[in-house]
């Protein structure tokens, strides 16, 4: 065994010491012949005759050397190394082609690696949590079966106690808004984003504080001292990673809490549960009757027992939910919907990611087709070299491996470049904080990506090399040596192969252009959707006043003062208050028109917004009927409400809603509100989904809000408005904390960001594909023209006008384009059908997109053909016919 090992090592060593070993062998053979000659001399031969005889006896020194190399080394490696060396030399000679090929391959492979990293992070890799496969999400189906709500605290408490499929269940409060809490310290006030979580939330996820500890039972249940956990990000940013953090006090909304622990940097709550948000502080969320009163407020997660499946959990949850609903009719309905956590977090992006992956695959196909085409052209110009090599006895296999070696070298270089592209691109993706996409922070180039990159490079290398390699057998030395001398035409087969590749490129470009076009058109429709309000020129500032008592007059006075100061600011055209901004989350209560009765659990849900007078103007919300809220809709006066058109239509179909009464403040409340006005529907949940039933309750007639936003409308740019507003609101500065002016347009941007992200990536791929396809068309047409110089010369000599020749070239090109479209349009039509889920406001067979794509491709083909066509028409018949070029 050791002998075999020694031999193997020696053979590998021989790869590097080949020259020395050859010299040794030569010396040894020389000495052998010398010794033999001397022996022969002793038998009486003349010295030179003896030497000749000795040489004769030792037949085939060259064969021996070859055989020696094969025995002592690893021949196939040596062949490969020699091929690669030759490939590098050849490529260096052809710098223009090599640069182009490396660039194209680098971009193609870089795109592939980037999309793969994205897919890997969002779809393939388990969530960055302990034993993530056992984590599940438990939603609460709404009556319409589409929307999924959250779960009420007491339901969660009972499910925790009763479930056998879940080892544990935990929840987080799903309705906090960015910068929701004010932190006061010696250095002033700032705002932080909090998410209250149940005591077992982090233990369930397997997230252990890196410093300090989690919540104790008493802290978690709200009976002990106030305790909070902070995120690693906040620890770093606010405390500079101070090791003595545990036990320090932090004053949240005026109440001191103790920091008991810091979560690890690897845990990013936002990227899992609230994409695009950074959470700083986690207070405990106790499960008791008080928190139960908040309603469906908890995002619930569970860890499945080892023997339980999502399906088993779903079945069990349904049984438990029925029993709970029966036992507690006063609670909200519970229609549990169990999903694996991974599906909940990123499952909705599956279609988009699959599309991107397919797109990048198509891009790679185009890259390969393009480079294969160029390789074919180069092979054609090197036919003579090949013919000479065949004549000298080069085997087909060797020429084939040689051709593949060259493309492998190209793809290897391209892979290195692509790696660079992918590293930069993934870095850029992780920094897209404002994008409402989960797990972006975990996107990175890892081993799997490297593997995919390497595999793709090899496959591409072989694919590109195979086309010219297949030309090899058609080389019969006599023919090629004879007619290769003059620029005679290459075989029909080669021309056909090149045309096919170009047609394929156009086909693929077609599909990408349509896919990208549809996404861009969807993005456009989403951006131009009638939101029901005017986000441009509207900005919001958050206030969190602390009320010393429940005196309504004090609040009214406070609102009056806030609005007065805001309206007095230069440039402010309208100002109003609201408890909730569109696209930032929402809450709903069961509603009931006077005299209407529903079965319990089947009441319509109305989305509540608590607003002041002036809000409608500040938001640009249209009043459809009746009157707006006024300053006088305050506590002692008659309770009133504004409703949107959908609510009016649903509750009082075909009737005038003005003056009718609505039980809007929850079924438990005693009073009804009189509808005084109807406003337009607002796309509050998402740009793409229509409004629900919305109602606007006067802020001076309810206490059901935490803080509120001041919304102002102004044509001033934010840079001017912000300081002016801050200056005039200075008396209330303490209640604003460090809150930033929020431009409502940015909320819309954030809501649209996933769509923008996909459209941007796919658009980029489509443009790249179009460029490549046009280069492919250009290369084929230019090559065809150069091959047909004599034909054009004859035509011109026989009286064809330059215009005729030009038209001939252009029509040939158009034929290629039309062939590409003939395949591309049906393919694009199929693909557009598959991506239906991603479309908004356009049909998959959108005529504008298809027509646009055809126009773009046609124009591209003509532009690409123009230069060669002009060249053809300007040929001088006398020189071309003489064959002098």
């Amino acid at each position: 065994m050791t002998a075999a090992l020694h031999r193997l090592l020696a053979r590998v060593r021989a790869l590097f010491t080949g020259r020395q070993l050859d010299r040794d062998l030569d010396d040894e053979v020389a000495s052998h012949i010398q010794l033999r000659a001397e022996a022969l001399e002793r038998t009486g031969l003349a010295p030179d005759a003896a030497l000749r005889a000795a040489r004769m006896e030792f037949h085939g020194v060259t064969q021996l050397r070859e055989a020696h190399r094969a025995v002592r080394g690893v021949p196939w490696i040596e062949v490969i190394v020699r091929d690669l060396r030759l490939a590098v030399r050849t490529l260096r000679r052809d710098a223009g082609f090599t640069t182009f090929a490396l660039l194209v391959m680098g971009l193609g492979l870089g795109g592939t690696a980037t999309v793969y990293s994205l897919v890997n992070a969002l779809m393939l890799r388990p969530l960055p949590l302990v034993d993530a496969g056992r984590l599940a999400w438990i939603g609460n189906r709404a009556d319409d079966g589409v929307a999924v709500w959250h779960i009420q605290a007491n339901h969660l408490r009972d499910l925790q106690a009763q479930s056998r499929t879940f080892a544990d269940l935990a929840g987080y409060y799903a309705y906090t808004k960015p910068d929701d809490v004010k932190v006061t310290s010696a250095s002033g006030t700032e705002r932080v984003s909090t998410v209250p979580v149940t005591r077992n939330f982090f233990p369930l996820l397997g997230v252990e504080p890196i410093v300090g500890r989690g919540f104790t039972q008493a802290e978690g249940d709200g009976n002990g001292p106030r305790a909070v956990l902070i995120s690693h990000h906040y620890w770093q940013q606010r405390y500079g990673l101070d090791a003595g953090i545990v036990g320090r006090s932090i004053i949240l909304d005026g109440l001191p809490s103790t920091i008991v622990g810091v979560l690890p940097a690897s845990f990013d709550f936002g990227s899992l549960f609230a994409p695009g948000r950074v959470i700083d502080v986690f207070p405990p969320f106790p499960l008791n009757d008080n928190t139960n009163r908040i309603g469906n407020s908890l995002g619930v997660i569970g860890r499945l027992r080892p023997d339980a499946t999502v399906e088993a959990a779903q079945a069990e949850m349904e049984v438990l939910a029925k029993a709970l609903e029966r036992a507690h009719p006063q609670r909200n309905t519970l229609r549990p919907l169990v999903d694996s956590l991974a599906v909940h977090v990123a499952g909705h992006l599956r279609t988009a990611l699959t599309l991107l992956l397919a797109a990048v695959g198509v891009v790679m196909l185009i890259v390969c087709a393009n480079l294969a085409n160029l390789q074919l052209a180069r092979a054609a110009s090197r036919r003579q070299e090949m013919a000479v090599r065949v004549a000298l006895g080069a085997g087909r296999i060797r020429l084939l491996t040689q051709a593949i070696a060259e493309s492998l070298v190209l793809c290897g270089g391209g892979a290195l470049l692509g790696l660079g592209v992918a590293v930069v691109a993934t870095k850029a993706i992780t920094s897209l904080d404002a994008f409402k996409l989960p797990l972006l922070s975990t996107v990175r180039v890892d081993l799997a990506t490297l593997g995919v990159l390497a595999a793709m490079a090899i496959v591409a290398g072989v694919a590109i090399g195979i086309a010219p390699a297949l030309q090899v057998p058609t080389l019969s030395p006599q023919n090629r040596l004879r007619d290769g001398a003059r620029g005679s035409s290459e075989g029909r087969r080669a021309q056909w192969a090149r045309a096919t590749l170009v047609v394929a490129e156009i086909t693929f470009a077609c599909v990408l252009l349509v896919a990208a076009g549809l996404l861009v058109r969807s993005l456009e429709s989403a951006m131009h959707v009638d939101l029901g309000f005017e986000p441009t020129q509207a900005t919001a500032l958050r206030f969190d006043p602390t009320w010393p008592d429940n005196e309504p007059a004090r609040r009214t006075a406070y609102f009056d003062e806030t609005l007065r100061l805001a309206r007095a600011t230069r440039g402010v055209e309208a100002a109003g208050l609201t408890d909730i901004l569109p696209l930032e989350g929402t809450r709903s209560w069961a509603i009931q028109g006077r005299g209407q009765v529903y079965e319990l659990g089947h009441y319509p849900e109305g989305f509540v917004r608590v607003v002041s007078d002036g809000y409608r103007e500040a938001m640009g919300l249209r009043l459809v009927a009746g009157r707006d809220l006024t300053r006088d809709d305050a506590s002692p006066s008659e309770p009133v409400v504004l409703v949107n058109e959908s609510l009016a239509r649903t509750i009082w179909p075909g009737q005038d809603p003005i003056g009718r009464f609505l039980k809007s403040d929850g079924l438990g409340s005693k009073f009804e509100r009189r509808v005084v006005g109807v406003v337009a529907d607002v796309r509050h949940r998402a740009l793409e989904s229509t409004a629900g039933l919305e109602m606007y309750i006067p802020i001076r007639q309810t206490r059901s809000y935490g803080g509120f936003y001041l919304v102002v409308r102004s044509s001033q740019p934010t840079a001017v408005l912000a300081p002016a507003l801050r200056a005039s609101l200075a008396p209330l500065a303490a209640d604003m904390g460090g809150s930033q002016l929020r431009v409502l347009g940015e909320l819309v941007d954030r809501a649209i960001s996933p769509r923008r992200f996909t459209a941007m990536l796919l658009g980029g791929f489509a443009v790249f594909a179009l460029l490549l396809a046009s280069l492919g068309v250009y290369a084929v047409v230019a090559y065809g023209v150069s091959r047909r110089r004599q034909e054009f010369g004859i035509r011109l000599a026989l009286g064809a006008s330059p215009g005729d020749v030009q038209r001939r070239v252009l029509s040939d090109t158009l034929r290629l384009a039309i062939a590409g479209l003939a395949f591309g349009v049906p393919a694009a039509w199929l693909v557009s059908r598959l991506m239906r889920d991603l479309l908004f406001g356009v049909t998959p067979a959108d005529p504008t997109t298809f027509a646009g794509m055809i126009a773009v491709l046609g124009a591209m083909a003509l532009v690409a053909a123009y230069v060669p066509a002009r060249q053809a028409s300007r040929l001088d018949p006398t020189t071309t016919l003489r064959g002098v070029e």
Partner: protein
Amino acid sequence: MGDDRSEILQGTLDLMVLKTLDAMGPMHGYGIALRIEQVAENAMRVNQGTLYLCLVRLLQQKWLSATWGTSDNNRRARFYALTAAGRRHLQAETANWARVSGVMDRLLQLPKVVAP
């Protein structure tokens, strides 16, 4: 080949080379070839090329060592010597050869069996 001298079986040459070096001490390639042909009394021919391939194989397996030196008649030559591992291998192979050749002998001497 119009020659009734036997071609050497692959692997057998290994054994011959090892045994020759064991018996004669360090030798150069020409000497080994000469010695084998002498012992064979011209019943067998050694292809010099094959011999050098065999030598490099044995060298790589560390059964032989090689050094450049001068021959009896003051010629530069490469001398091969048996290593300790080579000697052990030779012993093992010798025993093996004896066994195989015994079996071969018996097999080849089997009388023809006539079916009853």
